[in-house]
C-alpha cells in the first residue's frame, strides 16, 4: 500500500489493568488494536447538571415514546373491538382498515422519530477513522494458499490417475442429467399432443361432429334476429363449459354489420379471393365466413392474446386495450395500427334450425404468433 497511509498503531506496553486508565482509554485502545482511531469526540451535552435544552430534548423523546406506546395499545383495542366484518354501505367497518393503519403506522413512526432523535441529539458526536485493509492479500499469503490448493489437487492424485478422472466423468454427467431429468421430464408437455394451439372450442369434435352453436355467457343459443344491425355480442362455443376459462381461446365477437359495411367487407373478401386465385401475394387464409350481414372474429388478439374487444362503431375498428392494436372490421379485421401483425381470425358462420352456428373451427390458429405456427388449417381438419 502507499507510504502516505498510516494505520493506527496499538501501544504494545498498554496495560489494561493500569488504574490510571479510564474506561474511555480502554475503548480507545480497543479501537486501536482493530485499526481504528477516534479523530473527534464530543458528548452532545457536558456532564453534570442538565441544561434546559437537554431537558427539553429528553422530554420530547420521552413524549414520542409514550405516544408510540399509546398508539400501539389503540391498535390492539381497535383490532379486537372495532366492528371489522364487511358490510355493504357506509358502516363503521369501513373504517377498520384505516384505523389499523393510523394506529399501527402511527406507533411505528412515532417510535422511529423518538429513536432517531435520540441518536441524533443525545449521542456523542464522533468521527472514527478505520483502516480499510483494502486490496489483495500479501504476496506470501497468495503463494501459500496457492500451494495448499495445488497440493490438495495432487493429493487426490487426479493428475496421476487419468483413468479415475475419465471414469468419474461418467457419473458426473449422468447424475447431472439425472438431477434435471425429473423436473424436465415431469413438466414437459408436447404442444402437438392434441394440438391445443390449433384447435378451439368451435371444433365440431367437441359437439359429436355437429357444428357448434354460438351461445351467450349463460349458454343460450343466439338467433340472428336477436342482434340488430350495428350491434355486437360476445359469444362462446355452445359446448359444456364453453364460456369458462377451459376454453379461454374460444371467445368470439359476433357483429351484425350495417348494409354498407357488410358490402364493404364482402368486396374485401372477394378481392382477396380473386388475388389468391391469380396467385398474387395475399394474406392467407382468406375466409368467407359471413352469414348474410353477420361476421364473427376471434376476440383473442393476434399480438399478445388480450381480448381485442373495444368496438368503435363509428370507425368500425376493434381496439385491443393492452397494446392498442387496431383492427378494421370491414377489411377482414386486418390490423391498421399498433404492434399486431395479423388479422383477427374469422369464424365461418352458418344458421341451423334458426340458430347461429360455426361451420367449422377457425381456419388458422388463433392468438399470438409463434415460431412454427402454420399459416392456415385446412377445412377438413377444422371440421373433424
Amino acid at each position: 500500500m502507499s507510504s502516505e497511509h498510516h494505520a493506527p498503531v496499538a501501544d504494545p506496553s498498554f496495560d489494561v489493568d493500569d488504574p490510571r486508565n479510564t474506561r474511555f482509554d480502554l475503548v480507545r485502545e480497543g479501537l486501536r488494536r482493530d485499526g481504528m482511531e477516534i479523530a473527534y469526540y464530543e458528548p452532545a451535552f457536558p456532564p453534570g447538571r442538565k441544561s434546559k435544552v437537554e431537558k427539553r430534548i429528553e422530554r420530547s423523546i420521552a413524549l414520542l415514546f409514550v405516544l408510540a406506546g399509546l398508539f400501539a395499545v389503540a391498535f390492539v383495542v381497535a383490532y379486537i373491538w372495532w366492528p371489522w366484518k364487511y358490510e355493504m354501505g357506509a358502516t363503521a367497518s369501513k373504517f377498520y382498515t384505516p384505523i389499523l393503519a393510523l394506529t399501527l403506522g402511527g406507533s411505528l413512526v412515532l417510535l422511529a422519530f423518538g429513536i432517531i432523535a435520540w441518536a441524533k441529539k443525545l449521542l456523542p458526536h464522533e468521527v472514527v477513522i478505520q483502516d480499510r485493509h483494502d486490496g489483495a492479500s500479501p504476496y506470501d499469503e497468495q503463494r501459500l494458499t496457492g500451494a495448499a490448493i495445488m497440493n490438495i489437487v495432487d493429493e487426490t492424485g487426479i493428475r496421476r490417475r487419468p483413468l479415475l478422472k475419465a471414469a468419474l466423468a461418467l457419473p458426473a454427467a449422468g447424475l447431472g442429467v439425472a438431477a434435471v431429468a425429473p423436473l424436465v421430464g415431469a413438466l414437459i408437455k408436447d404442444p402437438n399432443d392434441g394440438h391445443p394451439l390449433l384447435k378451439t372450442g368451435w371444433n365440431p369434435e367437441n359437439n359429436n361432429g355437429r357444428p357448434v352453436r354460438l351461445t351467450r355467457q349463460d349458454g343460450t343459443p343466439v338467433r340472428p334476429e336477436e342482434v340488430s344491425p350495428g350491434g355486437q355480442m360476445t359469444v362462446f362455443p355452445g359446448i359444456p363449459g364453453g364460456a369458462t376459462n377451459k376454453w379461454a381461446d374460444s371467445p368470439v365477437l359476433l357483429i351484425h354489420l350495417r348494409q354498407a359495411d357488410a358490402d364493404r367487407l364482402r368486396a374485401s373478401i372477394a378481392a382477396s379471393q380473386a388475388a389468391l386465385a391469380e396467385g398474387r401475394d395475399v394474406t392467407r387464409p382468406v375466409v368467407d365466413g359471413m352469414w348474410q350481414n353477420f361476421v364473427a372474429y376471434s376476440k383473442i388478439c393476434t399480438h399478445a392474446g388480450c381480448p381485442a374487444s373495444l368496438y368503435e362503431q363509428q370507425t368500425n375498428r376493434l381496439l385491443c386495450p393492452c397494446h392498442q392494436s387496431q383492427f378494421l372490421i370491414t377489411e377482414q379485421a386486418k390490423p391498421v395500427f399498433g404492434p399486431a401483425h395479423r388479422k383477427l381470425p374469422m369464424l365461418p358462420l352458418d344458421v341451423e334450425d334458426g340458430f347461429l352456428v360455426a361451420r367449422s373451427d377457425f381456419l388458422e390458429p388463433i392468438g399470438p404468433t409463434y415460431w412454427e405456427r402454420p399459416v392456415e388449417i385446412n377445412e377438413q381438419e377444422a371440421t373433424s
Binding site: 482493530d34 366484518k85 422511529a112 480499510r132 408437455k189 399498433g338 399470438p368
Partner: protein, 532 residues
C-alpha cells in the same frame, strides 16, 4: 476456596455472563470489532436499506397472507361477505383473495401492505442502483456486488410478477396471458415451454399452484441468499465514502456501528415499516374485488401492470408489427421488446463496470466516490438510460395519458416511437453540458471566490461584482462540494433553529465577516476581469 459464603453481587451478573460466554466461544475480539465497525455517513447510503427493510416487511406480511391464500384454480361459487360477487363462479385463488380482503380480520391491510412494500422494494432497489451508478460505487473492487444487485433486481421483478398473478383477478389473468404470448414468441422452444409451464393450454389448472411455490419459496430463498451475499460483500469490502476531511482511499471515516449507526438504522427500519403500514391502510391498492375474476374474454382499458413492469409494457406498445418470417417459421415482433430488449439491458448493466473501466482507462480499486459532474460521460450515459426507460414507462401508460390529456392514442404511440430514438441522445448531450458547466463553475469559485452580490462601481465607471476568495493561495479541486454562497462561508450567520419558536439564541454574526476589505477590490479586478 474460601469457606465464607460469597455474596451475590447483582452488578457483576452481566460481566459474569460475558466471561462465561467468552470461555466457551472466545469471541470477545470479534464482538468488539463488530461493535466498533465504522460506517460512513451520507443520506444516499440509506437507499439500499429501504430495500432491505421493505423486504423484511414483505416476509412478515407474506407469511400472514400464505396462511389464508389457496392458489387452487378449481372453480367455486363465491359465498363470502362481498355481496356483489356472491354466487359468481371463480377460481379458488380469487375466492380466497376476496376472503382475505373481507373475511379475515386485518387481512386487507396485510394484503395492501404486502403490495405497497413490493412496490417500495423495487423502487428503492432502482434508486439505490442509480446512486451506485452515478457515484461510481460499482468500480473495482465492487463489480461483483453490482452484478449481485442486478440479479436482485430481476429476482424482485419476477417475484413481483408472480405475486401479481396469484389472486387470479381480471388484471392478473391479463398479465399472465400476455406472458404466454411472450413465452410463445421464443424461437424453436416457445410452444414447448408454453405447454410445459401451463401443463397444457392457457390458463389450465396448473400455473397458479406452480407460481405460488415459486413466489413463496423458490424466489424468496434466492433473494434471501443473494441479499446475504450482497451484505457480506459490503461488510468485507467496507462501505465506500465521499471524499472529505481525512477521508482517503485507505480508510473509512464515520461513526461506529453501535450505538450511532445501529440506533439510527433501527429508527429507519421502524419508519419504513410505519410508512408501509400507513399506506397499506390509508391508500387503496389493487382493489381486486372491483376487477372481478379472470375471464378470457374480459378486459378493460387502463389495464396497467405494476410500475416496474410498465417499461416492458411500453416497449411492447411501441414496437412496430415487424414479424420476421424465415421460410415456414416466424419470429413474432413481440419477441424483440419483451425478450431481447430486457436481455440486452441486463447484459449492459452486468458488463457496465468493465465498459466503464475501458472508457476511463481506470483499472485501479476505488473506495472514494465520485461526484456525477466529475465523470460526465458516465453521468450522461446514465441519464440517457434513464430517459430511455422513462419514455418506455410513460408509453406503458400511454392510453391513460391520451385519455387524461385528450390526445389521440395513436399520436401518443408515435410520440413514444420517435421519443425513444431522439430523447436519449438529447438527454446525453444536455447532461454532458450540465456536468461540464458545473465543473467549470467549481473551478471558477476556487480560483476567484464566491459571488457576494455586492456590485461595485470603479473609478473609471465600470461595474464589477465583488468576489470573496476562498483562500489566499491556489486551491485544487478535491472532488468535494465547493461552497457557492456567502452563508456557506459563515458570512450571514447561522439560521435561527426551531419551527414555532427559536430553540436557541441566534449566534451573533462572527466578527471578521466583512466580505471584502476595501484593499481587496483592485486585486479582485486583476484576478477576475468583469464579464459583460
Amino acid at each position: 476456596m474460601s469457606p465464607r459464603k460469597r455474596r451475590f453481587e447483582f452488578a457483576r451478573v452481566p460481566a459474569q455472563i460475558g466471561q462465561d460466554l467468552d470461555e466457551r466461544l472466545g469471541a470477545a475480539t470479534l464482538l468488539r470489532r463488530a461493535l466498533n465497525k465504522v460506517f460512513p455517513n451520507h443520506w444516499s447510503f440509506l437507499l439500499g436499506e429501504i430495500a432491505l427493510y421493505s423486504f423484511i416487511v414483505l416476509l412478515l406480511t407474506g407469511t400472514f397472507l400464505a396462511l389464508f391464500f389457496d392458489p387452487s384454480m378449481t372453480e367455486v361459487a363465491y359465498d363470502g361477505s362481498y355481496t356483489p360477487l356472491r354466487g359468481e363462479m371463480m377460481s379458488q385463488a380469487y375466492a380466497t383473495s376476496l376472503h382475505l380482503s373481507f373475511d379475515v380480520r386485518g387481512g386487507l391491510i396485510m394484503r395492501q401492505m404486502h403490495h405497497w412494500a413490493a412496490l417500495l422494494f423495487m423502487a428503492s432497489i432502482l434508486v439505490h442502483m442509480f446512486r451506485v451508478f452515478f457515484t461510481g460505487a460499482f468500480r473495482k473492487p465492487r463489480e461483483m456486488n453490482w452484478v449481485v444487485g442486478v440479479l436482485l433486481f430481476w429476482l424482485g421483478f419476477f417475484e413481483g410478477f408472480a405475486g401479481y398473478s396469484l389472486p387470479d383477478d381480471a388484471l392478473s389473468g391479463t398479465g399472465l396471458r400476455i406472458a404466454t404470448a411472450i413465452i410463445l414468441s421464443i424461437p424453436v422452444i416457445g410452444t414447448w415451454t408454453y405447454t410445459s409451464l401451463f401443463g397444457g393450454e392457457f390458463p389450465g389448472t396448473e400455473i397458479l399452484p406452480r407460481l405460488y411455490i415459486v413466489h413463496v419459496f423458490l424466489i424468496p430463498l434466492l433473494l434471501l441468499g443473494l441479499i446475504t451475499v450482497h451484505l457480506a460483500l459490503m461488510v468485507k469490502q467496507k462501505h465506500t465514502q465521499w471524499p472529505g476531511p481525512k477521508a482517503t482511499e485507505h480508510n473509512v471515516v464515520g461513526v461506529r456501528m453501535v450505538p450511532g449507526f445501529a440506533l439510527k438504522t433501527t429508527g429507519f427500519f421502524l419508519l419504513i415499516f410505519g410508512l408501509i403500514a400507513l399506506m397499506g391502510g390509508l391508500v387503496q391498492i389493487n382493489p381486486l374485488w372491483l376487477f372481478g375474476p379472470y375471464k378470457g374474454e374480459v378486459v378493460s382499458a387502463a389495464s396497467q401492470p405494476d410500475w416496474y413492469v410498465m417499461f416492458l409494457d411500453g416497449s411492447t406498445r411501441l414496437m412496430p408489427d415487424w414479424d420476421l418470417t424465415i421460410g415456414p417459421y416466424t419470429i413474432p415482433a413481440i419477441f424483440w421488446p419483451t425478450v431481447v430488449l430486457p436481455g440486452v439491458l441486463t447484459m449492459l448493466a452486468v458488463f457496465y463496470p468493465a465498459i466503464d473501466r475501458r472508457i476511463y482507462k481506470d483499472y485501479e480499486a476505488h473506495h472514494l466516490l465520485q461526484r456525477p459532474r466529475d465523470v460526465p460521460v458516465r453521468t450522461a450515459l446514465g441519464m440517457m438510460a434513464i430517459s430511455f426507460w422513462l419514455v418506455l414507462t410513460i408509453s406503458g401508460g400511454n392510453d391513460i395519458v391520451a385519455e387524461k390529456f385528450d390526445i389521440s392514442l395513436n399520436a401518443m404511440t408515435w410520440a413514444g416511437r420517435v421519443g425513444l430514438l431522439i430523447v436519449p441522445p438529447i438527454a446525453y448531450w444536455v447532461t454532458y453540458r450540465i456536468c461540464l458547466g458545473l465543473q467549470q463553475h467549481d473551478r471558477e469559485v476556487l480560483a476567484h471566490g464566491v459571488e457576494t452580490g455586492i456590485i461595485k462601481r470603479l473609478p473609471d465607471g465600470r461595474f464589477i461584482e465583488v468576489h470573496q476568495p476562498l483562500a489566499d493561495g491556489h486551491l485544487e479541486y478535491a472532488g468535494t462540494p465547493v461552497p457557492k454562497k456567502m452563508n456557506k462561508l459563515g458570512a450571514l450567520g447561522p439560521a435561527i433553529r426551531g419551527f414555532f419558536f427559536p430553540i436557541e439564541k441566534p449566534a451573533p454574526p462572527p466578527p471578521a465577516v466583512t466580505p471584502v476589505s476595501p484593499a481587496d477590490a483592485p486585486r479582485e479586478l486583476e484576478e477576475a476581469p468583469p464579464k459583460y
